[in-house]
Symmetry: C2
Subunit: 240 residues, 2 copies
């Protein structure tokens, strides 16, 4: 893309967990520290993966209509409570539980995320198109200096990806059509839905998101509009 | 308030038009320039006041249920189209109309706004509790470097102040109770509703918002939690 022709794109809408932030290492680091201070050692990598694995079934209950819309913070807490006994973790106070659950509000960006986004924000509106709720994403942005122009996605759209309304309402909340937006994600399945709806697509390769356990999203599976190994590469490809 | 005791407040929620930005002077300046280049002179101060005067009746149709929720951009445009013939303004292209209507996306902050907000953001979450829609407020923030942590208020709450749900949902979207939030506004009537709902209140005196036409909100009419002449004074009173 030439830097001299005006971009057809006005906004970039980002998946967050795995694309913008490294949830796995962030959770392992916090749990290791929190429980280490209490003399407790467990396989925190497996704990992080187990916690994350409860995410899709919990959202599916909302998508299917079995349960009304609840924010992700609530589901994260329910899933945490469900996991603790199996790891023989008892006697945590309510404050401890809340502190642990809010680790999702303190996730750290990948090394290339902020350098890329601070370039991209000069030319484009940057919004979330995540299943995270507003408090979670706004607190994370404050904690990690992520420069969102607006928190969009699940909570204001009152749904969970891959429900189409989450994508369509996010573009509309910026006053834009899908064609004026680029969906940025490290997950082929997320981009597939966005592309069907008319969005341009940017795949960011994150083959280490799940660590050695990762068995999908190891590479771009289609000819997305942009295929990149980092946010900085995306900024370069967009001429900013 | 002492700077050594922890603040009971986690977030500041701001009215925007008149409190954060000087809509009147911003509109006058843009209209003067836009039409001046076309050799057209009118009383743009009166035009700005007339445009703003159509705001409450337009929202009232939504609040009353006569009309479903539409974003403020749409009502601003309808109101603009209604005003133009009376000012003998014809033959504007669709692009001209859109450009003029988006003057609301380019409003300038009062001189104390950014110095105050950049101090406040170090300690508090900053959100909008405005009747402006997300695109309007996010574009304005980008244009004028206003450091919101999230755009809340009317559009994600699907209502218009003084409907209570707009206040209550804005606190909830930050994961907070009203008591953990300070409503910041230059309008006594806005703070009155917020106080009833449990919010702390900060009155920012803007006696020049409407110019010589201003006949209310010339001073604090109740003992609000904080009464200030500027955002910087509010920052000082909050110890940041």
């Amino acid at each position: 893309m030439s830097t001299t022709s005006p971009s057809p794109y006005k906004a970039l809408l980002f998946d967050v967990f795995g694309t913008v932030v490294d949830w796995r290492r962030s959770i392992i680091a916090e749990l290791t520290q929190f429980f280490g201070q209490r003399g407790i050692e467990k396989d925190w990598e497996q704990f992080a993966l187990d916690w994350r694995a409860l995410y899709q079934p919990a959202m599916e209950r909302v998508r299917s209509g079995e349960r009304g819309y609840v924010v992700l913070d609530t589901m994260h807490k329910e899933n945490l409570m469900q996991l603790l006994p199996g790891y023989d973790l008892h006697d945590l106070s309510d404050d401890d539980i809340d502190h642990l659950n809010r680790v999702w509000h303190r996730l750290q960006p990948w090394a290339d995320t902020l350098p890329g986004m601070y370039r991209l924000r000069k030319q484009f509106m940057l919004g979330t198109l995540s299943n995270g709720n507003i408090a979670l994403l706004a607190n994370m942005a404050k904690h990690s200096s992520i420069p969102w122009d607006a928190i969009l996605g699940s909570e204001p759209a009152q749904g969970y990806k891959p429900e189409h309304k989450v994508y369509l309402k996010s573009a509309a909340m910026f006053g834009l059509t899908p064609e004026q937006c680029i969906m940025v994600a490290a997950h082929n399945e997320d981009l597939e839905v966005a592309a069907e709806l008319g969005f341009a697509t940017a795949y960011i390769n994150r083959p280490d998101e799940y660590g050695v356990a990762q068995n999908k999203n190891l590479h771009a599976e289609q000819e997305w509009t942009f295929v990149c190994d980092s946010m900085t590469e995306l900024a370069t490809k967009l001429g900013v």
